[in-house]
Symmetry: C2
Subunit: 220 residues, 2 copies
């Protein structure tokens, strides 16, 4: 009735992508050299130096923790549009495991790997290398994750997450990287919530208004 | 079990707001004077001159129709953040009544009134005049629209639509204008979809996975 999420080994996709989705801020950003020297804290012992450098370049105010705004400023799609606030909030919710409201260095390691893995997935399914995912590529991606969705549902997902067509400038139509990740996580979250409620596994649930609203609003 | 949407007369709120949510593009935008003169089309007979001027300033390429990108560039919140793409797409879906993919002048009249009315609603419920809606103000607004939602559901809506707190710069935490409108339309859409499925009006529905996904994905 609905597909199970076969936890695909996303590491097989790594290295496909020339790292779209991330642009380091300009050098020197984040206050005067004096200020930076004063507030600079070194990496924790054993930290990956490259990862520490990424972390420091996103943490523009050198507070030692990344805010949602700092993350949104650092994350761009292949077409240079910024990630939506909703995607940034979704990433913060997943990786701010100590619920501090910010991403510390240890949390950043997980976030970084997650985005890299998704970049590989995106590059893998963007068959025509257009930089965005069209309806056919979306169906392939969700199908390979184990979601066998009706054409009408796939079409609704495409309409909801695609960027609108523009004139001669601006992003191409289709689903950009950050909205592709969000669409996939929304399908996963809604499907898993439905499956938890469907205790007899017949593809139907009985649900109250309150529980319905909670189920939907808890999804990104 | 769930509140009915008493269609409030939003005109009672008009005039409260110093028109946040809209900033005209810089003068001279939209090509050289030559290009503008060449492609310029006058207003239709009987058009409101002020409305035509707004329309023309949003239609930066003077094509006679407003694209989603032109609309997103023109619409800003009280704190100067741009509207989310999801809100812009929601507005296009409501007002692009001929499904051309763009907003013509006649469609723009409806869109303009809709945004003005919502600006009044927003100003009315932003009791502390902070420029954003907090949890208490959100509960008041949704309550006055006839939605008597559980505190847990209100809290989920606040978490989902609020902008995260920032440092000393950037938008204040809370729900900005465009996300407030989107949150209210989402609650309205989901509640009405649930009510349509709840034919015996007992606050419970039985629903298949496919219909559940469609119901959720059709909401903004």
């Amino acid at each position: 009735m609905y597909g199970h999420h076969h936890h695909t080994s996303q590491s097989q996709y790594r290295g496909h992508s020339p790292a779209p989705g991330y642009a380091p801020p300009p050098a020197g950003y984040g206050g005067s050299p004096m200020e930076r020297a004063r507030s600079y804290r070194g990496p924790p012992p054993g930290a990956d130096p490259q990862l520490w450098q990424w972390f420091s370049s996103v943490d523009t105010d050198r507070s030692g923790a990344i805010t949602a705004n700092e993350l949104q400023s650092a994350l761009v799609n292949g077409n240079w549009t910024n990630f939506d606030l909703d995607t940034v909030k979704m990433l913060m919710n997943i990786f701010d495991t100590d619920r501090s409201g910010t991403i510390g260095f240890n949390e950043f390691a997980g976030l970084w790997k997650y985005i890299s893995d998704w970049q590989g997935v995106f590059a893998h399914f963007d068959r025509d290398r257009s930089g965005s995912i069209d309806g056919h590529e979306l169906a392939n991606a969700l199908g390979s994750f184990g979601y066998n969705l009706q054409p009408q549902i796939l079409s609704l997902i495409e309409q909801k997450y695609a960027s609108p067509p523009t004139g001669n400038y601006g992003p191409a139509p289709g689903i950009t990287f950050d909205r592709f990740v969000r669409a996939c996580i929304v399908v996963k979250t809604l499907t898993e919530s439905f499956q938890r409620a469907d205790t007899d596994r017949d593809g139907w649930i009985q649900i109250s208004y309150d529980d319905f609203m909670k189920m939907v609003l808890m999804s990104p």
